[in-house]
Symmetry: C2
Subunit: 190 residues, 2 copies
């Protein structure tokens, strides 16, 4: 990344992806990531508690967008419609940079158990946040939990389609398709 | 475990749980697990490819039971009913030993990223096997995948309730309750 890139967080993520891919996650130090980004180790720790958190950098923003989207859904929206509003809002906010980093982040996570465990915890926290955002709309707990799980399945499907090589659809459109497909699929299950 | 226990696999699992809990997963060697079980290291490797596989010992049996249960469901059963047949059949086969080991295995997995990553992979493989068993009943792929995910959520809920301290309900009964609740919850989502 060029040094004039204004977003230190993004520079650190990009540097970490480069170095983890080149040398391996275990072999890369925080100091090396910071140096590659043209920053200091203490700057790194201002953004991330630990080396393993750097690849989950987008998670907080995603949680915030999901929760805001759910809160802004129409008052009479069903739990799934509310989750859909959150998913589409989040997808709309994702940039080309996120799209390009996606496959590389996924490959790195799959290659390291520590990163995999971290991603799993983050995912569980995301599902909980979505369920809480639904509960705040007076959705009962089991319905909120299940709608959150299903919404995150649709989100993951849409994300996988979005970052697939050769895809030209926008993430938001893919998210709408994934939610529609989920609804259709659910009706064929029971 | 007493040395006359006939099931070498179970003895190895029990020994591993003891030692991992006492000393930590990282600090325990395969040779030590084997010795605690009154067996040799080469016997260990006849049952498990690696130290990290010993806590996922039940997974293959669970997969087999789920797949058999799904295959034996009535021909006109819905995808969810077929998954339910698999889940109930699997729950019926689980013993008190499995129940007692449950909370300790969960605690160990939660304490170690390598075990956590392993458990996640095993879970994903389980969902795939269940989806394949449904596809073999001519269920379409997206419906099979979603029914598998939902069935495994119900299975996890029932398992968590079963191994909760003080629970006196049988696993199969809890599995039936979890599936009924899932069906009821699904109807309130869209």
């Amino acid at each position: 990344m060029p040094r004039w890139e204004p977003d230190a967080r993004l520079r650190l993520v990009a540097a970490a992806i480069e170095l983890f891919t080149e040398r391996g996650y275990e072999e890369t130090t925080v100091a090396e990531v910071a140096a590659r980004a043209g920053l200091t180790k203490s700057t790194f720790f201002r953004y991330f508690p630990d080396k393993k958190d750097v690849l989950a950098a987008g998670q907080e923003a995603i949680t915030r967008l999901l929760v805001m989207g759910i809160a802004s859904a129409a008052q009479d929206a069903s739990p799934l419609e509310a989750v859909a509003a959150g998913v589409v809002r989040t997808a709309e906010a994702m940039t080309e940079v996120t799209k390009e980093l996606g496959p590389r982040i996924n490959a790195l996570i799959a290659s390291n158990p520590e990163l995999q465990a971290r991603a799993q915890l983050k995912h569980a926290a995301l599902v909980r946040s979505v369920a809480e955002a639904l509960a705040a709309r007076s959705v009962s707990e089991p319905v909120a939990k299940l709608a959150a799980e299903l919404g995150m399945l649709a989100f993951a499907d849409a994300h996988a389609a979005w970052i697939t090589a050769g895809n030209r659809e926008g993430f938001a459109e893919l998210a709408r398709i994934a939610i529609d497909r989920l609804r259709e699929t659910m009706s064929q299950i029971t």
